[in-house]
């Protein structure tokens, strides 16, 4: 049993739990985007940042992948956390201006506009990779994956072509936090064109 504090409240956890899991179990909500209970955490969106403090020293960590440890002091709300989240939202607003979900979340942190250049006003995919993880971990396929690197990163099927690997189960659509997959899935799934008529044997 590991004992530590979240927001000055003592909590208990088992080895292997993460800070996010423990906080949620105690009813403390931490916002997330790239996190879903059904798949492995990836720590990509940095929205679940929490602050670890030890006297004067402090640091920010992603709670969805940060394992619990004896005696740490975790704070889920603070000025520097809010600052990070506002930055993230400002960047997201520039990256995915077409997503109402992101706009709503940003508004809650007082972010209404962005100082960054908007590359594509119709973009709504935040490339969190939840869909690719769902495809691999839940369905057991790799019909879609995260392609390219850095700023060119995007979601799609191999060679951006419809793929027969996709079974059109819709897991990626359900798990997508912004609804971008509704648009993307159409270029991935292939609707069978043949009528299935068995032969006389």
């Amino acid at each position: 049993m590991i004992k530590f504090n979240i927001n000055d409240t003592p909590v208990e956890a088992e080895p292997g739990w993460t800070v996010l899991e423990t906080a949620r179990h105690y009813g403390i909500e931490i916002p997330t985007l790239c996190y879903h209970e059904a798949v492995m955490a990836s720590g990509a969106c940095r929205l679940c940042m929490v602050e670890l403090r030890d006297g004067e020293w402090s640091k920010l960590v992603a709670s969805c992948i940060y394992p619990v440890a004896q005696g740490i002091n975790v704070y889920t709300e603070s000025e520097s956390i809010d600052n990070v989240r506002r930055w993230i939202f400002e960047m997201l607003l520039a990256e995915v201006p077409a997503s109402p979900e992101i706009r709503d979340m940003a508004r809650r942190y007082g972010v209404e506009s962005t100082r960054f250049a908007i590359k594509n006003p119709y973009e709504d995919c935040i490339v969190c990779g939840l869909c690719a993880r769902a495809c691999e971990e839940i369905v057991g396929l790799a019909a879609i994956s995260v392609m390219s690197r850095g700023v060119h990163k995007k979601i799609g099927s191999p060679f951006s072509k419809p793929t027969e690997v996709c079974v059109a189960c819709g897991c990626c659509v359900t798990i997508c936090p912004t609804g971008a997959m509704r648009r993307l899935i159409e270029s991935v799934r292939e609707t069978p064109e043949v009528t299935l008529t068995p032969l006389a044997v």
């Binding site: 739990w17 079974v167 189960c169 299935l196 006389a200 044997v201």
Partner: protein, 811 residues
Amino acid sequence: MNSKPNVGVFLCKCGQKIEPLVDLAALKKSVGEMEGVACCDILPYPCLEPGLNVINEKILAYNLDRLIVAGCEGRLMLKKFERKMEPKGMQKGQIDVINLRGHVADVSDLSPSLKAEKGAKLIRASVAEMIALEPGLKKSIRIDQPPIILGGGISSFTAAHELAREGIGFLMSVPETDPDVVLRNLCRTYPGERSHYQRLKKIMDEVLTAPQATILPSGELAGLAGVTGSYSLSFNVPDSMTQCQYRAGTIIACLDGELIPPGPEFGYDGKTVLCQHEFEDVLYNEQIPEGNTVFWVCDYETGQPENAQLSARAAFTMGKHILENKTRAGVVILYNEQMPLPVNATERKLGRKLGIIWVPYDKSVRPILQADYVNFGSVTDHLEHELPWDRIVLSPIRTMGEKSRAAAKILGILHEDKEFLSAHHAKVRPEMVGREESYLTGSARYACDLTDALGQGRKAGKQNAEMITKSKAGQLFIPQIVCVVDPDKCVACGQCQELCDCGGIGVADLVGGGLPRVVDPMVCTGGGTCAAACPYEALTLQNNTNIQREARVAALARQMADHEFVAYACSWAGLPAADNAGNIGLKYDPAIHILGVPCLGQLDPSVMARAFLEGAPGMLLVGCVPEDCHHSFGIDHAWSRVNLIKKLFALCGFDRRRITLAHADMNKPEAFVKTIESFAKSIKMLGPIEKTPENQRKLQSIYRLVKSNSRVRLLLSAGLRRPWEHTYRGDQRYALQYEREDFIVALKEEFLKARLETLMITEKRPFNIRELASVLTEEKKSVAEQLSEMVAEGCINVRYKEGKPLYLSAN
């Protein structure tokens, strides 16, 4: 196992997503009072480690062996729970996830307490199913017999090579065992692949001398029986009427296609206008011709544009061979402008150096062959140009070939009237099929080049080796939701085999006829339409049986208010559409109570009838669009079964609209909401079926008829095809005509019988004919006819009083 299962129900707060919308405390109270529920708890997040920890503690404390989590989408979450709970002895089927958030909390404006009531209804139904579950064991499968490689395709050798490398002994049936002869003939199926021959010869030599190899005497495949692990195969012995039999654990069928020259409309004459595979024979076995050789890549014109690149590559290698060996020769490759060039930069450079000329032609102007010249439309200036030729080499037309077709028919992999055999398996999750289609390789599967075919062989060899090694270690398990046959009940009517689209149903042994069927669990996808079609209830889908579904729908139907209805949603279309509707916050009529089902084809008509018998005013079934059905035909079969109930409703005077089939797309939740709204409106208008004794007797009769009348069930499954299909595998008949002429007549007769029987059972007294006719408002003559048949069948008894017959139930 305990005689009485202990169900644990866990309600998810899902942070703030469920808790404020549903009165969880009230829900917990009503769930806790349900029969069979040993414990009910509210957790902030049952799906996270701390929550799972609590569930584990409860499993130990209450000895739980069934788990229901009411939270969010089961499609996403179920697998995690199954994985996490497996060490606790929970198997597939023992855990159910109800989408409280997406089907109840988010989708209507009901008050939290009313939502709790709706949630309770869904949970009660799930509890009923869980109690009815008899868990099938997790079975491992043993493969003791060696794999057999048959079909004689070139990929046989790479498959064998892989098996030999893994040290696995195998049987191999190839028509020719001299590598030189095999290679000499190879250009007839794979033209322009000479560069691979040396490597291939080495593989062949290694395979033929490998200690693991048992080369069978050549002969055509004549028969196949059994399932993965124990197949028996028979081969015709050439030049005699006898057959020899072998036993094998797995099969790798290596089938090569056939190349046919295009017809005379392409100028083909077999001499100066040749096909590629014939030209290669000339090129290597006779002499290299001088003069202009024009390779016309005519695949777009022969209707196989997908093969253009294969032909163009063959043309390139042959052209290269000509120019490397003859200086006074010209090579032109004439191709349709739509084809991207299949050569890389180095090859292009080499081609330029040698003088191979690539000439694209206008796709809308078909090249015309005339004496010494060929005309084509230029893509740059749109003039008609002429090319001089001394010989024209045409692309072949690729087919699977008669030999491969015959073998495929015996192997049960010839599903469709298509040019090739390429697996069109049901589109399901890989875990639902134990064996990938690792048993079919070669160009009869789809048109491919030699490298591809050899690669397929290697892959199949590797997969089979893995499977065999796993089974030796006792680690090869069959999927848990598969069909099983009760051999005592099976009468070998073969309906299931005709309906099964996975090819997973066969006979157990080669000898004799009229044998019970067996299901190959490594091929079965658990579609279950075969089980729902079985006239004798011999086939069941283990861990997902008809008994379970009936229990669930009955429990739900009993709780339905006058305007409420049951909806079945298939997990590929209806259920994801419902989940997604909840996800994006669409609102719809809360009268709907959604039950998930893997495929609508699994729904036995008795499940539908049971819902109405227990008091549901309506039933909606939401499945895939027919061409998108993931289990190939499930939705069509559901259509036929829904129509059976509709016909019976019409005979009873109930409104046919009470049961309706709908088609959805997982990505169109808005359309799904419209479907629900429309159906909810018609149910509101119709109201409930009045619970008079007469109506109850009618519903009872419908249920009795569709559940256990094997004549109706047999006739129904014989007609489970779409009207526009003409070719059937077995005795199935042209659906529309059949339905109008034979089926409806038989249905009326059998329904009258069922009503008579129900009446006699419920009233528990003897009746005379006149009384029966007046109670059922039927004609005396037809009643008398059916009664005499029923007496002959022994389901009712007859007594005579004052010379007049009195009828009484036999029970």
